[in-house]
C-alpha cells in the first residue's frame, strides 16, 4: 500500500514483454510493418485494427488541415526547481529526452484548422518522459486555453500521459489545479474543450484537464485510468481484474467517455464537433 503510485508516471514505456519486440510489430496480431506502411495507415494495424502510439508531430499531421498548424511556445522548457537527482539528474533526463524526441517537452501546442474549422490544438507526446506533466506541459496547456478563450475557438487536446512528472515534486502536482483553473476560464469564455484521450491517459492528466472536456473522445483500446491495472492489482491482490479494466471500452460502459472513435474517423468526427461548437458570430 505504501508503495503505490497515484498521480505519477506508471506507464513509462511499453510493457516488459513488448520491450523486446520491434515497435512496428503489432502486439495484438504480431504482424510487422515498415514504418512508412504504418504511417500511411495512421499507425493503425491494417490486419487487426490495433492502434499504435502516435508521436505528437505526426498526430498534428493526421488531424490538422495541411499547413495550418502554427506552433507556439516551442521554446518553453522545464526547469529543475528541486535540483532533482535520482540515479541520474533530472536535467540530464530532460536533455536526453529532447535529443531523442526533438521536442522541448511532452506537449506541443498552437493554432490549427481542422476540417476548415479554426481551433487551438495541444498534443501530448508519450515518448517524452512518458508524457509526464511538469511545469512546462502545464504552462503550455494553460496558454493554449488562454489563446482559445481569447479567440473564442475550441481547444482540442490530445492526451497521452503517465501522469505528473515526479522529478518536479510538488510543483508537478500543482499542474493539476493549474490546468483545471485554465479549463474554468475557458468555460467562462464559452470556448469548448474537446478532450481526445489516447493510450495511455492516466493519473495526473486524467485527474485534471483531460476529464473536463465538454466532449470526451477516446481511441479504441486506450488505457484511461487514474491508477493503472498493475497497481490496482496490487491493491486487490486475489481479485481478478476485468479483462478490459481501465480501457476506453470499459470507461465508455461506465459512462466516462462520449465516444470511442477509431483513428481514421477521428479527423472528420472532430470537424463535425468543431462545427457544432462554432460560435454563431458571438
Amino acid at each position: 500500500m505504501a508503495s503505490r503510485i497515484d498521480v505519477s508516471i506508471q506507464h513509462r514505456g511499453p510493457e516488459p514483454e513488448q520491450e523486446r519486440k520491434h515497435p512496428n510489430t503489432c502486439p495484438s496480431c504480431h504482424s510487422h510493418y515498415k514504418d512508412e506502411e504504418l504511417e500511411a495507415n495512421l499507425r493503425v494495424c491494417p490486419q487487426c485494427g490495433h492502434h499504435f502510439p502516435v508521436r505528437a508531430r505526426e498526430r498534428v499531421i493526421q488531424l490538422a488541415d495541411r499547413g495550418t498548424f502554427e506552433e507556439v511556445d516551442g521554446d518553453l522548457r522545464s526547469a529543475d526547481p528541486l535540483e532533482f537527482f535520482d540515479l541520474r539528474a533530472y536535467k540530464e533526463r530532460l536533455a536526453e529526452a529532447e535529443v531523442a524526441t526533438g521536442l522541448g517537452d511532452a506537449m506541443i501546442a498552437g493554432a490549427a484548422v481542422i476540417e476548415r474549422r479554426p481551433c487551438e490544438l495541444a498534443v501530448m507526446d508519450f515518448a517524452f518522459m512518458g508524457g509526464s506533466m511538469g511545469s512546462a506541459v502545464g504552462e503550455k496547456f494553460v496558454r493554449a486555453s488562454e489563446r482559445a478563450a481569447a479567440r473564442r475557438v475550441p481547444l482540442v487536446c490530445v492526451t497521452a500521459s503517465g501522469g505528473a512528472r515526479m522529478q518536479e515534486g510538488i510543483l508537478s502536482l500543482m499542474q493539476l489545479p493549474k490546468t483545471v483553473a485554465a479549463v474554468d476560464e475557458l468555460r467562462e469564455a464559452r470556448a469548448a474543450l474537446i478532450s481526445v484521450m489516447t493510450h495511455p491517459t492516466t493519473a495526473g492528466v486524467i485527474a485534471s484537464f483531460a476529464s473536463l472536456g465538454d466532449v470526451i473522445v477516446a481511441e479504441p483500446g486506450a488505457l484511461l485510468a487514474f491508477t493503472g491495472p498493475r497497481v490496482v492489482q496490487q491493491t486487490v491482490k486475489g481479485e481478478k481484474l476485468p479483462d478490459d479494466f481501465g480501457l476506453a471500452e470499459s470507461n465508455q460502459r461506465f459512462g466516462h467517455v462520449d465516444a470511442i472513435i477509431p483513428r481514421p474517423e477521428l479527423r472528420p468526427y472532430l470537424g463535425r464537433l468543431l462545427a457544432l461548437f462554432e460560435r454563431n458570430g458571438g
Binding site: M1, A2, D6, L82, L176, D184, T227, F245
Partner: protein, 317 residues
C-alpha cells in the same frame, strides 16, 4: 555542482526575504505569541543548509504518526455544534471523507476532511482515509451547500491518496478528482485548506484548491509517496529516504516553492504529543487565514485564487 551551490544560495536568500515578510503576515501573528516562531525559524533555516535525508524522513514519519490528530479530532476541538452531513446522494456514504457544518469562531463554517482512524475496525470502515469518487462527491455537495449559503469553507487534507481500487476506477476516480478541483476553484465563498498529515497527490490536491493553503509543520505534501517514487526511479522501494529527500515534501520546502501560503506550527515534538495544543494552533492559523480572505471582494477573491494556481510552476523560456 558550483552552479547548484550558487542556486542554493539564491534560494536561501529568497527564503530569508520571505521569512522577513512572513513575520508581518497576519497569518502567523498567533505564532509569535505561542513561542513557536523560533522553532519555525530554525526549521526554515535548516533548508538553507540543505536538510539531510534523515531530517526529511523524520517529517515523513511524523506526518504518518499513528497518534497524530485526524480531522474529527480537530473538529471536536475547534468547532461548536458540528453536524455531520452524509452521503453523495448517488451511491454511498464514503467514510474516508467527512463533512459538515459547525460553528467556528462564532459563525457557521462548512468543513470537509479526509478521515483516518486508529481502531482497526474503524480504519477499514474509513478505508485508511483513501476515498472513492463518492467521497469527493460528498465533499462537492458540502461545498455547493456552503457556497449557496455563503458559509466559509475549510478543508483538512490527510490522505495517502485517492483509493486505487477496482470500483474507484470504474466509478471515475480521475474525473471526480478533476471535477472536485473545478468546483473548488469556482467557489464564491472564502476557502482555506490545510494539510494536516499526509497530502498524497491527486487525492490531496482535490481538496486543496483554496484561497489559502496551509501546511502543518510536520505534514507532507507530495506528488507521489517516497516509496512509490523510489520503486520507480531507484527501482527499489527501500530507497524511500533518498526519494523523500529528492521530492522535498516537507512543509518548509513546500512553502519555499510557493505551493503553500503558510506553515502552521505544532506543539513541541509534533501534533501527536498534544492534540489540544495542536488544535489551538491550527484554529488560530485557520482563523487568521479566513479573516484575511474574507476581507476580499468575492469576485476579486476568486480572481486571485485563479491567478495563484495559474502561476504555479517553474519553467524556462
Amino acid at each position: 555542482m558550483a552552479a547548484e551551490r550558487t542556486q542554493g544560495a539564491v534560494e536561501q536568500l529568497k527564503l530569508r526575504e520571505r521569512l522577513a515578510k512572513l513575520r508581518d503576515l497576519p497569518l502567523l501573528r498567533g505564532v509569535g505569541v505561542s513561542g513557536e516562531m523560533a522553532r519555525l525559524q530554525r526549521q526554515i533555516d535548516r533548508i538553507g543548509a540543505a536538510p539531510t535525508e534523515d531530517e526529511v524522513w523524520q517529517e515523513v514519519e511524523l506526518a504518518r504518526h499513528q497518534d497524530r490528530p485526524y480531522t474529527l479530532d480537530y473538529v471536536e476541538r475547534m468547532f461548536e455544534d458540528f453536524i455531520e452531513l452524509h452521503g453523495d446522494r448517488a451511491l454511498t456514504d464514503d467514510k474516508a471523507i467527512v463533512g459538515g457544518l459547525g460553528r467556528f469562531n462564532g459563525r457557521t463554517v462548512a468543513l470537509v476532511g479526509h478521515q483516518k482512524a486508529r481502531d482497526i475496525r474503524e480504519r477499514v470502515d474509513r478505508n485508511y482515509g483513501m476515498a472513492h469518487p463518492e467521497g469527493y462527491r460528498k465533499a462537492m455537495r458540502v461545498m455547493e451547500l456552503a457556497d449557496r449559503h455563503g458559509f466559509p469553507f475549510i478543508a483538512l487534507v490527510d490522505t495517502l491518496g485517492a483509493y486505487p481500487g477496482v470500483k474507484a476506477e470504474q466509478h471515475g476516480q480521475g474525473g471526480w478528482l478533476a471535477r472536485c478541483q473545478l468546483q473548488m476553484i469556482r467557489l464564491g465563498i472564502p476557502t482555506v485548506s490545510c494539510i494536516i498529515g499526509e497530502g498524497g497527490s491527486g487525492g490531496a490536491v482535490a481538496l486543496a484548491v483554496a484561497d489559502r493553503v496551509l501546511m502543518q509543520e510536520n505534514s507532507i505534501y507530495s506528488v507521489i509517496t517516497p516509496e512509490g517514487c523510489a520503486s520507480i526511479l531507484w527501482r527499489d522501494a527501500g530507497e524511500a529516504k533518498k526519494a523523500a529527500a529528492a521530492l522535498k515534501p516537507d512543509a518548509a520546502h513546500c512553502f519555499q516553492l510557493g505551493v503553500v501560503d503558510a506553515v502552521v506550527p505544532e506543539p513541541p515534538g509534533g501534533a501527536h504529543n498534544d492534540h489540544d495544543a495542536a488544535a489551538r494552533l491550527l484554529a488560530a492559523s485557520l482563523s487568521e487565514a479566513l479573516r484575511d480572505v474574507e476581507s476580499l471582494d468575492p469576485v476579486e477573491r476568486r480572481r486571485l485564487r485563479h491567478r495563484k494556481f495559474r502561476d504555479m510552476g517553474v519553467f524556462l523560456e
